[in-house]
Amino acid sequence: MDNRLPTEFDVVVIGTGLPESILAAACSRSGQRVLHLDSRSYYGGNWASFSFSGLLSWLKEYQQNSDIGEESTAAWQDMIHETEEGITLRKKDETIQHTEVFCYASQDVDGNIEETDDLQKNPSWVASSTLIKPLDSACLSEEMHSLYVSSYEVPAKGTPENNGEVTDTAETLVKEEYCGYKTYKHRVSDGAKDEIKPILEDNSDPPKRNRITYSQIVEEGRRFNIDLVSKLLYSQGLLIDLLIKSNVSRYAEFKNVTRILAFREGKVEQVPCSRADVFNSKELTVVEKRMLMKFLTFCLDYEQHPDEYQAFTQCSFSEYLKTKKLTPSLQHFVLHSIAMMSESSCTTIEGLKATKNFLQCLGKFGNTPFLFPLYGQGEIPQCFCRMCAVFGGIYCLRHKVQCLVVDKESGRCKAIIDHLGQRINAKYFIVEDSYLSEETCSNVQYEQISRAVLITDQSILKTDSDQQISILIVPPVEPGACAVRVTELCSSTMTCMKDTCLVHLTCSSSKTAREDLESVVKKLFTPYAETEIDKEELAKPRLLWALYFNMRDSSGVSRSSYNGLPSNVYVCTGPDCGLGNEHAVKQAETLFKEIFPSEEFCPPPPNPEDVFFDGDDKQPEPLGANTIIIAQLESSEGSKNLESSEKHLQN
């Protein structure tokens, strides 16, 4: 295959993380010729999601740190003229450290499954399946359980195409299920068909918990989509706004986070935060319900009632909460789970503002303020890449860049030279900071993020439904330390195999990830081996597998701290530690405005149907709060079916 690329572009983007992908999409959308490169074999950089085997391969790569075995790279020095100089880029990514893996699940018996290197084909790209019960009279009765799977094929290399084929894949499903049967002998396992899970195992009394072995995890490794960064989308956040505005949301599906949890006095509890939650709560007394609602209602427009908080602006938010007649558990809920603030450092105003932000996001798509993308956070950068490709952007993975070519006279970057020795010219260059060499970064100070990824056998708070998506903030034991954010995903988010939960822990680092996070892990989970002790221990979910690592947080680094970068080289940072994606979106928009001050940032794509006179005033009126995304999303497709809302938000 000829890997030669065109040599003339307007913008070259190096790195496929979220800010770079948004920028690539924005540039391509505004008519620029975009080349988007990544030296890795997968999309997303540190924003990626991996199948289980993909994650193992990723780990292997970082553990074999020494091996920089450069294949035949053509010497770049020959490629530049006398009037030019080269700025080399880093050859090896160094943003991940202290990786530690622990396997608790039994590694017995049929352990002859190979951990295949699955990096080349990230399965999350391939299918976004949608469960629809068609209302259409023709097929409701017989095909109650039929599935429509819309699959988007992307060429393994080169440009993704827009022709998302929608196929009625009763067939596909059958095939998939068939495959399923072949590989895992005893379990009918397809996320879509939860209803028909075998009752065999549930008969025994007391109910036996599923024993999941390591080999099962490996066998079903493709069911996992493990995020390197654990983030959620605020339903009123910048990323949702951008996805809707740019119509990129059509490429992704989301689920509403179903629960906000709190950890108090050694126990996990559900936090009632919406009106419906408060109404339904069995734990709160009616008076507590009133006090909580009253406080939350006040927070929604606290600016209008300065007399309510003015006297407390010098106090911490936790001190302020004590004056609001809230019981201790309500104070804890508001401070840690709703405002998500720390006890000591947060002022009253900050707390009120955070509470307000949380509450404003409620009810837009469901009873919590957060959305999670099906198939993992790694979907999001790819969606923007697809958008970029639709408007002509060219994609190359596994494509290394040796250096930036700078014109000595003007001091501007003119071109890059890739690992094949090809020189590619462009006007603007956007580089993710992990590609910058040590020399360029010698003055830069980084923060670190501590991460843990756990595979467990059940939820930290069991309810009737095992399909919950939960977020839990564990406050620090000692004041001043960082709170740990825990996100627990169920199998219907398409990020883990059935009968398991995927748990992400995140905090900003003070030590290595394991040192930072292990104590919280121990509070919430029991290692698999120690299980057959007493009942109380059994109530905790069991830990099957755990990974700790530190990820570099460059979000605070300013552009001016890099040495000798030409002015037309723009730097994107890696993921930040925050819960939302606001930092990445803001960064992309700011850089875009710097490069193209007069261009609109990701405007809605032209709607082919707008050409005809039929269209605008016949849009279905909004059906309810949770169809907002759809109203804009679907306008091009008309309202083909009522389920469109569920399609995008299967909550």
Binding site: K133, S137, A138, F279, N280, K289
Partner: protein
């Protein structure tokens, strides 16, 4: 584009109308109307058009063709509902269609309702349709109740869901025949009260929960009854008051009068002479029914439709005789809330007071407290109730007039209770800040009525029911009309000082009161009218009236 589209639509409808008139009711009309209705489902005429066509095709087509037609129609309706899920025409058409199908797939219709309610849980059109479907499919009430549970859990601001509960619960828990129908057993009631309390503590401004609360504490309509029967020898007249207004006449309600156990044909009329639906009806009695030859006469009135009757006795030598239910015993005035279990009411009152402390300005809470107090003991709580009224008026000034009227009603009820207790026929309602007169049908036997120093604007027609009234004091009000002071056979003295009677003409009704001898009109604008004395002398020749 807009205009063009409109024109196309108009052309379509004209052509559809034309075909309809020409009797060409075939599939092409279906096609044509579907184009228009597809864009705008609120076009009732075209739905009618479709129904006519479908009815015609029903007899013409083979069963297979018809099945295909119905399927297509159902599909089309669904697409219309997606355009506008709140279209009366579309839902009605679906009802009509499903009602005609010999073997409708009701399970599918329930599923459709569930889907639409998932999108908008307050779509009352869909709720309506769901009730229709559930009734047709004979869905057990328990299942439907569970469905309302699930929607209330999602969002309790849902009148339709609460309302459906109020229909389903009495079906699920039928009361024994003797008891009042439509009420719930105590354990169910307590569970519902807990649910609704959770709702109004969570959001006290949500009306739907308060309305459901009121339904829970309310009681069934009182049974039909005759409350009072009064016979007067002097006026040769029999007066009856009923538990609800009714219209007596040959084609409406029939009343049978038995005098000394033999039927007597009489002509019934209302006291004000209007013969509109009224609580009180009366008739003239022939002299033979009142003669003094027998030691007593019995009068029995049978209300056939209401299944009620009452009897009273006129003793020899007496001027009048009556038989009356006690308002106290019958608890007539607790109609807002039930009397079922005062412990339940008491605990509801306590939790409402608790809420009121947290939300001192919540009008729903204040009103519910007032109603609960009345249900528990109107006299004991009178003072407290008046205070709550004051607070309520302050927080809800928009409804001040409504609240004044409600307060007047309660005060009048209390006065009647006190009067009964004292066993007198004199009622003092002075200085009570009344704005309206209610329950006048309860005052049939009153001889002296004091309405002075209130804010009354009229003496309403219903006052004519006070057939025994001799003295009426209504000084210091803002009375402008005297419509009710009519046909009062015993009225002798009437005090109307310091009111707002403008024109001499308003005095006209007084001419029908034969025994009126004293009339005080001081301080009314009409006293200054030119020729007022002459007017009075002509209108009321036997009355001694004071103007200054």
């Amino acid at each position: 584009g807009q205009e063009l589209r409109l024109r196309v639509r108009l052309l379509g409808s004209i052509s559809a109308f034309y075909q309809r008139q020409a009797g060409e009711l075939d599939e092409s009309v279906l096609e044509l109307t579907s184009q228009i209705l597809g864009a705008n489902p609120d076009f009732a005429t075209l739905w009618n058009c479709r129904r006519e066509v479908l009815q015609r095709l029903e007899v013409q087509k083979s069963p297979e063709e018809l099945a295909a037609l119905v399927k297509a129609e159902l599909g089309f309706l669904e697409s219309c509902l997606r355009v506008n899920p709140k279209s009366y025409g579309t839902w009605h058409h679906r009802c009509w269609l499903l009602g005609r199908l010999p073997e409708a797939n009701w399970a599918r219709e329930l599923e459709l309702c569930a889907r639409f309610l998932e999108v908008d849980e307050r779509n009352f059109h869909c709720w309506d349709y769901r009730r229709f479907v559930a009734a047709q499919a004979a869905v057990p009430p328990a299942e439907e109740l569970a469905f309302t549970d699930s929607l209330i859990t999602r969002n309790f601001s849902n009148y339709s869901s609460w309302h459906y509960r109020s229909c389903l619960l009495p079906q699920l828990h039928p009361q024994p025949d003797s008891g009042p129908q439509g009420r719930l057993p105590e354990d169910v009631l307590l569970k519902e009260l807990e649910l609704v309390q959770n709702a109004f503590f969570t959001d006290p401004n949500d009306q739907s929960a308060w309305f459901y609360h009121r339904w829970l504490l309310g009681r069934a309509d009182p049974q039909d009854a005759l409350h009072c029967l009064h016979v007067s020898r002097d006026e040769a007249c029999l007066t009856v008051s009923f538990s609800r207004p009714l219209l007596v006449g040959s084609r409406t309600e029939t009343l049978l009068l038995l005098v000394d156990e033999s039927p007597l044909a009489v002509a019934w009329r209302t006291p004000d002479g209007r013969n509109r639906p009224s609580h009180v009806w009366l008739c003239d009695l022939p002299a033979t029914s009142l003669n003094d030859q027998l030691p007593q006469h019995t009068f029995r009135v049978i209300w056939t439709a209401g299944g009620a009757q009452k009897e009273c006795v006129l003793l020899k030598g007496r001027q009048e005789g009556w038989c009356r239910d006690s308002a106290t015993d019958e608890q007539l005035f607790r109609c807002e809330l039930s009397v079922e279990k005062s412990t339940v009411l008491q605990s509801e009152l306590e939790s409402c007071k608790e809420l009121q402390e947290l939300e001192p300005e919540n009008k729903w809470c204040l009103l519910t407290i007032i109603l609960l107090m009345r249900a528990l003991d109107p006299l004991q709580y009178e003072k407290e109730t008046l205070q709550y009224f004051q607070t309520l008026k302050a927080v809800d000034p928009m409804r001040a007039a409504y609240l004044d009227d409600l307060r007047s009603k309660f005060l009048l009820e209390n006065s009647v209770l006190k009067m009964e207790y004292a066993e007198v026929r004199v009622l003092h309602l002075g200085h009570k800040d009344l704005t309206v007169l209610c329950h006048l049908e309860q005052l049939l036997l009153i001889t002296h009525l004091d309405l002075s120093h209130n804010r009354l604007r009229a003496l309403p027609p219903a006052l004519a029911a006070l057939r025994c009234l001799e003295v009426l004091q209504a000084n210091d009000n803002t009375i402008e009309s005297l419509d009710g002071v009519t046909n009062l056979p015993r009225l002798q003295e009437l005090f109307l000082c310091n009111n707002r009677l403008q024109q001499p003409a308003v005095l006209q009704p007084l001419a029908s009161c034969p025994r009126l001898v004293l009339l005080n009109l001081q301080g009314n604008p009409l006293c200054q009218a030119v020729g007022i004395s002459e007017h009075l002398a002509e209108l009321l020749p036997s009355v001694r009236s004071s103007l200054t």
